[in-house]
């Protein structure tokens, strides 16, 4: 059961920490610098960010349990294919990985004029735990800047591209 809660506020400069619980995830939303002619409503912004943060839960669960089907709700296309391939590799090697996000610094970059994709960057702090045949081998805290492209689906935004970039 995923107990992690993501809390976020759509205001620049605000950092909100989860009160509840367990894994505290700080989320910071930078002012959007959208390159587009298409207006993005506050409601849509909130939905994009909510669904993206939710995708981290799916990623964590799928990679930790080596279950690619847990990606279905949040990922499509190349992002889903790559994560699923990674899970298959993990299975073959007898390893699991646990990704625990600690903070997100998000900025919306691009909303395509046709409304079919939105791009954001996320500077994420996260812990990665490597487990080989149920033995914890290592845990490391990392920071990486992700480029993310989301696409609208029936009821939510799904992550279509998920790629960390070299600063």
């Amino acid at each position: 059961m995923i107990m992690q809660k993501h809390f976020f506020i759509l205001l620049a400069g605000c950092v909100v920490l989860s009160q509840a619980a367990v894994a505290q995830v700080a989320v910071h939303i930078e002012p959007a610098t959208l390159h587009t002619t298409r207006p993005l409503t506050d409601q849509s912004k909130a939905a994009v960010i909510r669904d993206y943060l939710h995708a981290w839960n799916g990623l964590q669960a799928a990679l930790e349990q080596n279950r690619p089907e847990l990606l279905d709700a949040d990922f499509v296309g190349i992002a889903k294919d790559r994560l699923a391939d990674t899970i298959h590799q993990q299975r073959q090697l007898g390893i699991r990985t646990h990704y625990q996000d600690r903070s997100h610094d998000l900025q919306l970059l691009f909303y395509s004029p046709d409304g079919l994709s939105i791009e954001l960057t996320d500077t994420v702090e996260y812990d990665v735990q490597l487990i080989d045949h149920d033995k914890v081998i290592s845990t490391q805290r990392e920071s990486a800047r992700y480029l993310v492209v989301l696409a609208p689906s029936e009821v939510r935004w799904r992550v279509r591209l998920f790629q960390s970039t070299h600063d």
């Binding site: 059961m1 367990v22 090697l93 004029p113 735990q129 081998i137 290592s138 490391q140 790629q163």
Partner: protein, 289 residues
């Protein structure tokens, strides 16, 4: 369950950072590796160990001999992203990280053109969005020139050259005055992609009918129906003829055939005849005969 993992994670971070195998020197990692390129990692110390390369895009595991260099042939890591290297021997562990970066040469693109069909004469009516990828379908975030070109059957060409920002570029083009099939192309170096955009006539611009006696009835016939750019309105478009007489109305809907609509109807002397298509009103004729 997650709570336990989180506490364990926090506790292990510092411990892992202090440990190093062998003689206490650190493994030598590349700072960056181009996607698909060969690379190597120098492992300090002596004895056998296990080297893990971990990322959300790929994972690798190798048995290595410490004190030697581990070579990874071309094609070992091809998905761009941050990778952790974990070298473990007995109870000691050494960590590091490096980035796999996209190849600099574009090899593929996603080109979205919308809409596939639109009326003529719309400013910024056609939009195109491009995402640029390398041969392994990694998004190339470095600025990359993209040219867009919209060509019409009449030979008119609209061109834009832009530079991608974080892997994406977009443009908007006008639909031109002439109906037909346009080719909308995006080009990045040697890579190009083309979409077909259909331009269809707009609403009728002027709608004019003529009336003449035809036996006991009146024949109403329109001039060829065109949009404001002179394109013929497609056959099948409905034209409505209306007769208004002493407060009552009767209408006949007739589709365009060969660019015109015509109908024969019984008309009361003193009636007013009018013609319309959609929201476009045509002329009126007072029938006095």
């Amino acid at each position: 369950m997650r709570a336990g993992s989180s506490l364990l994670v926090s506790g292990l971070i510092l411990v892992a950072a202090q440990l190093s195998p062998g003689q206490g020197t650190t493994m030598s990692l590349p700072k960056t590796v181009e996607a698909g390129a060969a690379f190597s990692i120098q492992n300090p110390g002596s004895g056998k160990a296990t080297l893990y390369i971990i990322g959300t895009g790929q994972v690798l595991k190798r048995d290595v001999q410490l004190g030697e260099t581990t070579f990874f042939p071309a094609g070992s890591l091809y998905n761009a992203g941050r990778y952790l290297a974990v070298l473990t021997q007995d109870s000691s562990t050494q960590n590091g990280s490096f980035d796999v970066v996209p190849a600099s040469k574009p090899a593929d693109m996603s080109f979205f053109a919308k809409p596939s069909r639109l009326p003529v004469g719309l400013h910024d009516g056609i939009t195109g969005t491009v995402y640029v990828f390398d041969t392994y379908h990694n998004l190339i975030s470095a600025p990359t020139p993209v040219s867009f070109e919209l060509s019409t059957p009449s030979g008119t060409v609209q061109k834009r050259t832009l530079v991608t920002s974080e892997g994406a570029a977009w443009t908007a083009m006008d639909s031109t005055a002439q109906q037909g099939i346009d080719r909308f192309a995006a080009r990045i170096g040697d890579v190009s992609s083309t979409r077909i955009v259909g331009q269809v006539p707009g609403d009728p611009c002027t709608l004019k009918m003529n009336a003449r006696q035809s036996g006991q009835q009146v024949e109403l016939i329109t001039d060829p129906v065109r949009d404001c750019s002179g394109n013929a309105i497609p056959d099948g478009t409905i034209v409505t003829f209306t007769q208004s007489y002493k407060g009552s109305q009767s209408t006949i809907d007739q589709p365009l055939k060969r660019g015109i609509a015509q109908v024969t109807m019984q008309v009361h002397p003193g009636a007013t005849l009018s013609v319309a298509s959609g929201v476009v009103m045509g002329n009126q004729i007072g029938w006095a005969k």
